[in-house]
């Protein structure tokens, strides 16, 4: 982490407004061009480490980088999950996503995935397994909070459901997640 005094020296200040997002920025919406780097990173990790390596990368990203999110979900339960995704998609450019909290679950109805929409608009070749990252990252975020995620769809629109892990949930069938070409 930062050495003592660096925040002062660099002029950095922690964000003060409460947010469901653990990391916040000065601009309200992220830069869509970064989706091309996310896509390229998946392709690179897959090329070097194969399918299992890419899944390990996603799982580590979910359980380590996103650990502060899991902690908030563990403390706040499904309302915290719903609020996180509302604020998350509000900060992503070009998406159309509904977040519903009901019947002991949080359901994301992704009508227009901002990442897929941007990559297509830019004419980029999308990594075939791109949509699987939502499951593997999200599941790694959910598990420490006692939750589980199932994803259905992909390729620009999908449903994602977070439920308590104790629920009767069938294992994620990866064939339910679209493969892109």
């Amino acid at each position: 982490m930062l050495e003592p005094g660096c925040r002062w020296r660099c002029g950095g200040e922690a964000m003060s407004e409460p947010s469901a997002l653990p990391y916040t920025d000065t601009k309200p919406v992220g830069a869509a061009d970064f989706y091309t780097a996310i896509n390229a990173t998946f392709r690179f990790v897959f090329a070097r480490f194969g399918r299992e390596g890419l899944r390990r990368y996603w799982a580590d990203l979910g359980s380590r980088y996103h650990a502060p999110v899991s902690q908030r979900w563990a403390k706040g339960g499904l309302p915290a999950v719903a609020q996180y995704w509302r604020e998350f998609f509000a900060a992503e450019p070009g998406g159309e996503v509904e977040v519903h909290e009901q019947n002991n679950e949080v359901r994301l109805e992704v009508r227009r995935c901002p990442a897929i929409a941007h990559l297509r608009a830019q004419g980029r070749e999308i990594a075939p397994y791109f949509c699987q990252h939502c499951y593997f990252v999200g599941e790694a975020m959910a598990q420490p909070a006692g939750l589980s995620l199932r994803v259905c769809g992909g390729g620009g629109s999908c449903s994602q459901v977070f439920r308590p892990a104790v629920s009767e949930l069938a294992p994620q069938n990866l064939e339910d997640i679209a493969t892109l070409s």
Binding site: M1, L2, C6, R7, R9, C10, G11, G12, E13, A14, M15, L21, P22, Y23, T24, D25, T26, K27, V29, G30, A31, A32, D33, F34, Y35, T36, A37, I38, N39, A40, T41, R43, F44, R48, F49, G53, Y57, D60, L61, R64, Y65, F88, A91, E92, P93, C113, P114, A115, Q122, H133, C134, V137, G138
Partner: protein
């Protein structure tokens, strides 16, 4: 989903993950292949055929989209950027994120290989606190970098009171992230 709102956070985290998996060379390869050749291919498409004009178009768009506090100075023989508040490093500093030992190296890590293909060399210095400057010249131009204020006047980042930090990295006619001098 992995977002672009906190992209710099998981991008920086990824450097450390890759280094753990495959060492420093894998991180260099990631910058050169995944970022320079794949993600930022639109930069290559502007800069390799169009030179300085392509640099103006590429960085004009991308730094505006990232809301960077910067100044661009374009002459017929040099393209200069004064980054007065880097949005990327600033995000990491504000959020206390530091998994990789030198996040700032990633810029030279992907821009260096691109400029090598395009026939340019880079003079660059960063202070690890969100300020840096770049001067890009044709590879056959032997001119030394400008002095403070010479090209960008009062907007020269080297004139900012917080410019000097305890760890400054200096690149001279460089194209490689490791080809630098760290100044105390």
């Amino acid at each position: 989903m992995i977002g672009c709102y906190d992209f710099c956070g998981h991008y920086e985290w990824t450097f450390a993950w890759l280094e753990q998996q495959g060492g420093h060379e894998l991180v260099r390869e990631y910058w050169a292949k995944a970022i320079s050749e794949d993600s930022q291919r639109h930069a290559a498409a502007e800069i390799i055929p169009h030179g300085f004009e392509g640099m103006k178009r590429y960085w004009g768009h991308t730094l505006a989209e990232e809301a960077a506090d910067h100044v661009m100075t374009a002459r017929e023989d040099v393209y200069r950027i004064d980054m007065r508040q880097c949005p990327s490093k600033g995000f990491l500093l504000r959020n206390g994120l530091e998994q990789y030992r030198d996040y700032c190296d990633h810029c030279m890590g992907w821009i260096g290989p691109l400029m090598k293909k395009a026939g340019f060399v880079i003079d660059h210095e960063h202070n690890h606190c969100g300020q840096c400057w770049w001067e890009i010249r044709r590879a056959d131009d032997p001119k030394a970098p400008s002095g403070p204020g010479e090209l960008s006047g009062a907007q020269d980042v080297r004139l900012m009171p917080q410019w000097k930090s305890p760890r400054m990295d200096l690149y001279e006619r460089s194209l490689d992230a490791d080809d630098k001098t760290t100044l105390p």
